[in-house]
Every structure is written in C-alpha cells, then in structure tokens.
C-alpha cells in the first residue's frame, strides 16, 4: 500500500497556520514526495479563520481536498478545533494547542497530542514561534518528513534574509518534539 498522509491545519489568521502547512509541503517536496497544499480562501483578515490541507504521498495525488478523512488534524485555537475536529478520520491523530483549547467531551476514536505551544513559544522568547513548536511536535509524532528538512524548507520559503532566525526555529521544532514525546512517558 502506498503512503498517503492528509494533514489538516486550522487556527486563526496570524498564528502561522498557512506557513506551517507550507513548510511541511516544501519539506516533503525536497524529499521527492508528491505533495499538495490547499488553502481555504475568502475575505482575508487578521484574526479571521485560516486553514489549509496538505497531502503527502509517494504516488500522484488525485483529490487534494480533505473531507472527513484527515489522517492528522492540527488545531491552534478552540474555534477551529470545535468546527473541524470531525475532519480527522477514526484512528487519526489530533494535535491541539492546549493553551487555547479545552475539550470536556473529546473524541474517543483518535489519539490526542495536547501541546502547550503558546507557553513553550513564550518561554523561548517569541509567541510567534508557536506554530514551529506545533510543527515540531506534529512532525515528530506523525513521522511525516525528516526534521532537518523542515529547516531546509524554511530557507526556501522565507529566503536568505530570514536565515538568522533558523537557530531559534530549530530550537522551537526540538522543543515541540520533546513536549510531544514527554506526553507518552
């Protein structure tokens, strides 16, 4: 059976949801996998709803759309989680920003990864790193791409001017991976 990962990322505008998906997509491309990245689009505004769907496969990708068959769901805030948690298929993984999301009635047919990405990012010195912390957690637990490839993708997506931010982003990825791993200790 060929490999196919369908990753649905959602949050509000400004949380880096789209770039999280793009870094993943770019990294997968660098690993010579097939990949698609589809954004939701509409009247854009900061703080508005933002989501994107990333499909990674080793074969040509047909439908790039995710309905209720995401293998992984990534949710950065409560509104996105409540609206889209059922997009993840039974047996899938849900990564949630536990600083902003509480669920008294969680699904029982998926695996939850509750990562306090805002707290971790703040501890690292920049709340803007929250998406990278999440990406580190997600990529480590869902085994999507080589973690170093995400940094290669960072260079391609954000360009030479932003290369000075690579060390701090690398740390954010590592902290995310660590937090996710600790959940299962």
């Amino acid at each position: 059976m060929s490999r196919i990962d369908r990753i649905f990322c959602a949050g509000f505008g400004g949380q880096g949801v789209m770039s999280m998906g793009q870094l993943l997509a770019y990294a997968a491309m660098l690993e010579e996998l097939e990949v698609t990245w589809c954004p939701s689009y509409g009247p854009e505004m900061r703080g508005g709803e933002a989501n994107c769907s990333v499909t990674i496969s080793d074969e040509r990708i047909g439908s790039p759309l995710i309905n209720n068959d995401a293998t992984v769901g990534v949710f950065m805030n409560g509104a996105a989680y409540n609206k889209f948690k059922n997009k993840v298929q039974p047996g899938g993984k849900i990564f949630m920003n536990s600083d902003l999301i509480e669920d008294s009635n969680p699904r029982t047919d998926v695996t939850y990864y509750k990562i306090p990405v805002n707290s971790i990012a703040t501890r690292l010195g920049k709340i803007q790193l929250a998406n990278m912390v999440m990406l580190g957690a997600l990529n480590d637990q869902a085994h999507l791409v080589n973690q170093d490839m995400l940094l290669e993708a960072f260079k391609k997506v954000f360009g030479a001017a932003k290369e000075k931010y690579i060390p701090i982003n690398k740390e954010a990825l590592a902290e995310g991976a660590k937090a996710a791993a600790e959940m299962f200790k």
Binding site: Q22, A25, Y26, M29, E34, V35, T36, W37, C38, P39, Y41, G42, I61, G62, S63, P64, L65, N67, D69, K156
Partner: protein, 350 residues
C-alpha cells in the same frame, strides 16, 4: 531543473515569463489576484510592462493592441471578469491575433461567489462573443500541467494566430504543488510580418475587424473554419486513466477530474471496472475519446450544472448513455459522493 513549490497563480506568471510574455494587462478579481500582483513585480525587471486597466474591457482591448503590435502578451481574470471581456475576445478572434487569457473560474452566474467552480465551459468553449469563431481552450488538471499549458499557449497562439484560453479554477489558482519549468516542444512559428510596427518604408500594415461586403465576410469565415479544421486535427488532447478494461467511464476535466481520479482508485479497489477520460483540450474537444464500444455508460462529473456534458453527448451519439453529477456555486464534490453516484449507476456490475 529542480522542482519548486508554487501556487497555481504564481506558476502562471513564472510560466508566462519563461515563454517570453512581456506585457500583462488586467484588472483585479478573486481568486486570481496573485497573477497581476506577481506580474507587476516581475515585468518591469525584464523590460516589459504591467498595466492595471481601469476595467476588464480596457484590459482586453490593451491585449488586442499589444497582440496586433506582435508582442507576446496576456491577461487573466475570473469568471465575471471574463464575461466583461467578451467583446474584445470576439475582436481578437476575428483579427486572428495570437493572445493568451487565463481564467481562474469561480461560482456564477452574475457576480456569483469567489470559490472554485467550472461554470464557464459554455462561455469559453462555445464562445461568449458574437459570430462564428472558436478559441483554443486548454484545461489543466494540476499546477504542473498549468505551467506546461501556459507556456505552450503562447506558442500555439503564435502558430495558428489564435486566442488561447487556459481554463482553470480557483482551486488550481490557490493551491501549491511542486512544479518544474520545462520547455514545450518546438513548433513552427512564422515571423510576425503582419504586425503593426510601422511601415518601415514599405506599405502600411492594417488589421481590420469590420467587413461590410457580405460575401467577403462569409469568405473570411470559411477561411477561419478551414484553419479550425487543422487545429482540430493537430491539437486535440485527452488523458485516459484505467480505461483498458473499463465498462464505465467518467468524463471530467480540471479540478473535478482530480477528485474523480481518486474515486476511480477507490472503486477499482472494490472491483468495479471503471476509468476516467479527461479532456485536456475543451476546444478542440476530444470527440474520438468517447467512441468506445465497451463502455456501457459515461458518467460526467463537473463543478457546474452540466456543461461539458453536451459535448460528451455529441461525442458518444446517445444522450441516454450519459449520467451527470456535480456541484456548483463553489461547493466542491467529494470522493465519497462521486463513488456513491457511480455505484448507483453501475448497480452490482463489477
């Protein structure tokens, strides 16, 4: 060349510039705004020009002028904007000038919505302007094909003196996929000796639209359709998927065909003998692709109320052999819906 991850709209610009397009005229409209935005940054760097017209009507007539002057030029828009351009499209077609238009379709009719749709098949393939004419219409199914087709569109336009429309939709425009910029096959392209570049000491060049003598105008139309016959013979394209032993065949293009392709995989896994015929050119339409004695039914799937279905019906010669499924207004079809639709038609036939 290494692959790059590009949004469909950005890919259009990269491909057009690679193909030697130096002039872009357009007016903003969602979901294709990255095209004019990116052109506005890139064209001045290569000695070209980006002009935001005061309207779509102005933009298409600027394209008419640039094409008449022999330049490689294009415009882009989305459904309601293309509707506004129809007069200019008719004039360019009558003048037999090479030009390229990209249409990232959205929901209609009227101002409609901004989500992806395939609502403009009739307008672009059957002609939204007056008179007897055709435009060549290319229908990319993914971003790589979009890149390839935009590049080739300029060559096809020059080879035949035709307006070429690349008919994609908001999803292809907005989504990112890895693409490789590669050269299309070389085509026989004549120098533009007719271009309005000044007489240079010789006779002035003229490009006419009006022809008041009826027999002369009829002769023009006859000549135009002789050219169209050559294009139909040379340029018709489609792609088969899982058609070798198929007893049922989907007919679908562009974004809809991607969802259908996944549905074919699912149905095949359950033992159904079903495939997909995906037209890559909508005019000329691949009528020959639908003459298959083993096919019991054609299942036409579009993001419309059913527009390409008319051509599928002409192609297979029996409208009773065709079933339709689609969504409109920006609602997308799902793989499960397409599978359910197909199973209803196929019954237990495996």
């Amino acid at each position: 060349m290494a692959k790059v991850l590009l949004k469909g709209n950005e890919a259009v610009v990269r491909a057009a510039i690679e193909a030697g397009c130096k002039y872009f005229f357009g007016y903003p409209i969602t979901p294709q705004n990255e095209i004019p935005e990116y052109f506005s940054k890139e064209l001045p760097k290569i000695g070209g020009a980006f002009v935001q017209g005061e309207s779509e009507v102005a933009s298409i007539n600027m394209l008419y002028g640039a094409a008449a002057a022999g330049a490689r030029a294009m415009t882009s828009s989305s459904s309601p904007g293309i509707a506004l351009m129809q007069e200019g499209i008719g004039y360019i077609s009558k003048a037999e000038l090479p030009a390229v238009i990209v249409n990232m379709m959205r929901g209609g009719p009227g101002l409609g919505g901004i989500q992806p749709s395939q609502s403009d098949y009739h307008m672009c393939v059957k002609g939204g302007a007056n008179g007897d004419y055709h435009n060549i219409v290319l229908a990319p199914g993914n971003v790589q094909e979009l890149v390839d087709m935009v590049q080739e569109a300029f060559d096809i336009a020059d080879q035949y003196g035709m307006l070429v429309i690349v008919l994609a939709d908001g999803l292809i425009g907005q989504m990112m996929e890895p693409v490789e910029l590669r050269k299309p096959k070389a085509r026989p392209i004549e120098p533009k000796t007719w271009a309005l570049t000044g007489p240079n000491g010789g006779k002035p060049h003229r490009i006419y639209n009006l022809k008041l003598q009826a027999p002369d105008l009829e002769q023009d139309n006859i000549d135009l359709f002789k050219k169209y016959e050559v294009i139909e013979k040379n340029e018709t394209r489609y792609e088969d998927y899982m058609m070798d032993d198929a007893e049922f065949a989907f007919a679908s293009y562009g974004t809809a065909s991607r969802v259908v392709r996944t549905a074919v995989d699912k149905l095949r896994a359950e033992g159904y003998k079903i495939g997909l015929i995906r037209p890559q050119t909508l005019w000329p339409f691949p009528y020959e692709a639908f003459k298959r004695p083993n096919i019991k039914k054609y299942l036409d799937v579009e993001l419309s109320m059913g527009q390409m279905i008319d051509d599928v019906a002409i192609a297979c010669g029996d409208k009773n052999m065709i079933e339709f499924f689609g969504h409109t207004g920006g609602v997308l079809i799902t793989v499960d819906e397409v599978c359910d639709f197909a199973k209803k038609i196929m019954g237990g036939a495996k």
